[in-house]
């Protein structure tokens, strides 16, 4: 009765012409709906915006009120670090993008089994923990490196800027390459055929079509690599030697001296350009044809004989092959070196390290898996809710929140970590040292990608299906149950698998939040690498890779099952 009156009233208020959509909802579910929406938005403000504001405020904090002193001081004190960061960032961006473009073109123009094998190498590197390239680098090219010392008889010092640049380029390249393949496979292969039809030889197809078509993607790759390089502290800490960047200095300031003022002020120098780049990035992404989804990419190729493409084609093939050789060497080295022991100048097979690892402490590995599963489920669920309200319901202020949610993608991990320290270290939000803050940090750092996956899936669902359900007598809940959730099924799997594997391998932000008593596998790995226990480090990396691959395999099987029964 009450409901009817209410509906009647609201109909009258709208002059009976256009009833507000919500009037069709029963009171109870309307309350749930409203509460949920407020909670989602509040959490986003709390876990994304608030920490950023905290960094900004802290960096202005002086003994006598707000001051710019921290900036001036930091800038003079760490000038060399700024220069280093920028030099490394630019060099990495260029080198990494070069490799990414060549690899992407190389894979895109291959077909059949070779293509699958190459894609597999890229995908393994997506699930590999960080620092593995540095680890392999030291093993292969270090003072006693397998290649430089044993093979070539050289004793080189690998700890310098060049090493940092190379390692960053190699470890960032697979992600960029997958992104570019995503763009390439969305290009209309008919227009490539049209070009050949009009007389363009393979070299011209490459120069006139493929490269211009991915140009916005190239810019995005440059930006992303630059920002990731700025934010990467692991590589310079491990192989920088005396060469340090802002990120590695921030790491030392926090971990070594707990100096939050300097760290915050240095962070602002990372934060401001990142926010600038973020808007540039969003602009560029609209030019790549919307959401180029790396995970879906690479299904369709275009058969083009790269070697017949003149100088450009040969250069592309050469760079791509070099890249793959390095990747394969790198993973081969990781997998093997956990089982080798040096004995009287030669290597023998041993399970000694494996036993040591098991004796050691596997609780970190278990904790990593548990956290990753929680992040997988909660993060995906949150992303679904958020994209439901923004993309499907088109709520007000959605562009603001959409922007906010995408921000962590371009935010250096150090900023995101220190922001959390500052935001959640006192009552009523004293979360420091708990697992919650670590999990929350992972969820919100990964939210840009998981929401993008969900939003893309939602935008594929025809609006008319909702109208059909409503028309046939179903309410908004039926729409959710019968249209939206089934439509989001594939996105659920891809988002879960992204969230899980990233949570297993992420290091950037979380390292500042982790309680020393509750370490995660990645940090065990980081410790092992920094203290030179390469065999243990190799085993931890291998274990992480295997766990992630197994879980992804299980998810893949589940999602395939769904495809079979859901095919229409």
């Amino acid at each position: 009765m009450n409901k009817v009156v209410k509906e009647h009233n609201s109909l009258n208020m709208n002059n009976g012409r256009k009833a507000s959509k919500d009037t069709f909802l029963p009171v109870f579910s309307r309350t749930v709906d409203g509460t949920l929406r407020v909670v989602v938005l509040a959490l986003i403000l709390l876990f994304i915006l608030f920490p950023m504001v905290c960094i900004a405020l802290r960096s202005f904090a002086g003994p006598e009120g707000p001051t710019l002193g921290n900036y001036a001081e930091v800038f003079t004190k760490y000038r060399q670090n700024f220069v280093n960061s920028i030099v490394v960032g630019v060099a990495t961006a260029i080198l990494c993008t070069f490799f990414s473009v060549c690899t992407a073109l190389f894979i895109y123009t291959k077909t059949g089994k070779l293509r699958l094998a190459l894609m597999a190498v890229l995908l393994v590197s997506m699930v590999a923990p960080p620092f593995v390239s540095s680890l392999a680098y030291i093993q292969l090219y270090g003072r006693r490196g397998w290649i430089t010392y044993r093979l070539l008889g050289l004793s080189l010092n690998p700890y310098n800027a060049l090493g940092v640049i190379c390692m960053q380029s190699i470890s960032f390249a697979p992600m960029n390459a997958l992104f570019l393949i995503g763009i390439l496979s969305k290009t209309d292969s008919a227009s490539l055929r049209a070009a050949r039809d009009l007389g363009a030889d393979p070299a011209h197809v490459l120069r006139d079509m493929l490269i211009p078509l991915i140009r916005p993607g190239i810019y995005v790759s440059l930006l992303l690599s630059f920002v990731r390089s700025l934010a990467d502290f692991g590589t310079p800490v491990i192989i920088g030697g005396r060469f340090s960047t802002i990120a590695s200095e921030i790491y030392l300031k926090i971990i070594g001296y707990a100096d939050l003022e300097d760290a915050s002020a240095m962070n602002m120098f990372l934060l401001l350009p990142s926010i600038g780049f973020f808007f540039l990035y969003r602009h560029l992404m609209t030019k790549t044809g919307g959401t180029a989804d790396a995970q879906r990419g690479g299904q369709e190729g275009f058969d083009l004989k790269l070697l017949r493409c003149g100088g450009t084609g040969i250069a592309v093939s050469g760079a791509a092959l070099l890249f793959f050789v390095m990747m394969i060497l790198q993973y081969g080295c990781i997998f093997v070196s956990g089982f080798l022991k040096r004995k009287a100048g030669s290597y023998v097979f041993t399970t000694e390290f494996l036993q040591e690892l098991f004796r050691y402490d596997l609780s970190t590995m278990v904790r990593s898996v548990v956290y990753a599963l929680i992040v997988g489920f909660v993060g995906t669920f949150f992303a679904i809710l958020f994209s439901y309200y923004t993309e499907w319901r088109k709520m007000r202020g959605r562009s603001f929140f959409d922007c906010l949610v995408t921000l962590p993608y371009m935010l250096p991990g150090t900023c995101f970590g220190i922001g959390y320290i500052l935001a959640f270290n006192k009552e009523p939000l004293a979360l420091m040292g708990t697992g919650i803050i670590v999990i929350a940090n992972m969820i919100f750092k990964q939210l840009p990608t998981s929401t993008k996956l969900c939003t893309a899936a939602l935008s594929q669902i025809p609006r008319a299906q909702e109208y059909a359900v409503r028309d046939l007598g179903g309410g908004r809940l039926s729409v959710l149950k019968d249209v939206i959730l089934p439509g989001l099924r594939p996105a659920f799997f891809s988002s879960f698998s992204y969230n899980f594997s990233t949570a297993m391998t992420t290091a950037g932000a979380v390292i500042f939040l982790i309680n020393p008593g509750k370490k995660l596998a990645v940090f065990k790995l980081f410790d092992a690498v920094s203290s030179g226990e390469y065999a243990i480090a190799s085993l931890i990396s291998t274990l992480i890779i295997i766990i992630v691959l197994v879980v992804e395999g299980i998810i893949y099987m589940f999602s395939m099952k769904g495809v079979k029964t859901n095919v229409s």
């Binding site: 008919a190 227009s191 055929r193 039809d197 009009l198 363009a200 078509l213």
Partner: protein
Amino acid sequence: MYLEVQGLKKRFGNKNIVDDLSFSLDKGKLMCILGSSGCGKTTTLNMIGGFLKADGGRILLDGQDITDISPEERPVTTVFQAYALFPHMSVMQNVVYGLKFKKVPKQEAEERGRRYLEMVGMAEYADRPIQSLSGGQQQRVALARALITEPKLCLLDEPFSNLDAGLREKLRFELKRLQKELGMTMLFVTHDQEEAMILSDKMAVMEKGIFVQCDTPWNIYHNPASDFVRDFLKLDRLIFQEDGTMLKRITE
């Protein structure tokens, strides 16, 4: 004969998609291959265009064996169903793209481009980006782009099927006029009976990889080879003019 196709074959798996197909076409004529989807008509076109390697048979064009020539060297151009224009180039850049490989100097290429754009009624759009054009406009540009290189043979793969009925009819007549004006030899694939009847100098009805009948629309109309042809073309609903061109279709 200007275009001669002899014993063309294509298999996918153990299925004969195109099965020992032979036909010929005179210079300056337009031939339609008409068939339902999956009958092998697009496969045939792709082999003639050079995008698909034939499993057997030969294709002769103007006395030259083009069977094994790559698409960029074949004197054949294609107008695709989905236009396949280059999204990162302007209308003019699209149109003159093929001239680059004929070593036509830039200025002359521009002039020619303008002339062909005029022919298809798109001259005023020369500097527009491709995305700003409607479907019909895009297909006009695609047509100009295919014709400007003065190919010996122009292939059209259901070029109007993405357009609405009114526009389709309009473009059909424009195409016919252009084809006659330029004396262009064209091979046109379609599943639209009316389109085939109106455009063809010669038409082939294709089914399961072979031509069940290949003749002028007039002859097919008067002597359909089988009940299949009669039913497929819905011949009892067509009215022809005295000169043999189709007048209209009776709609209920």
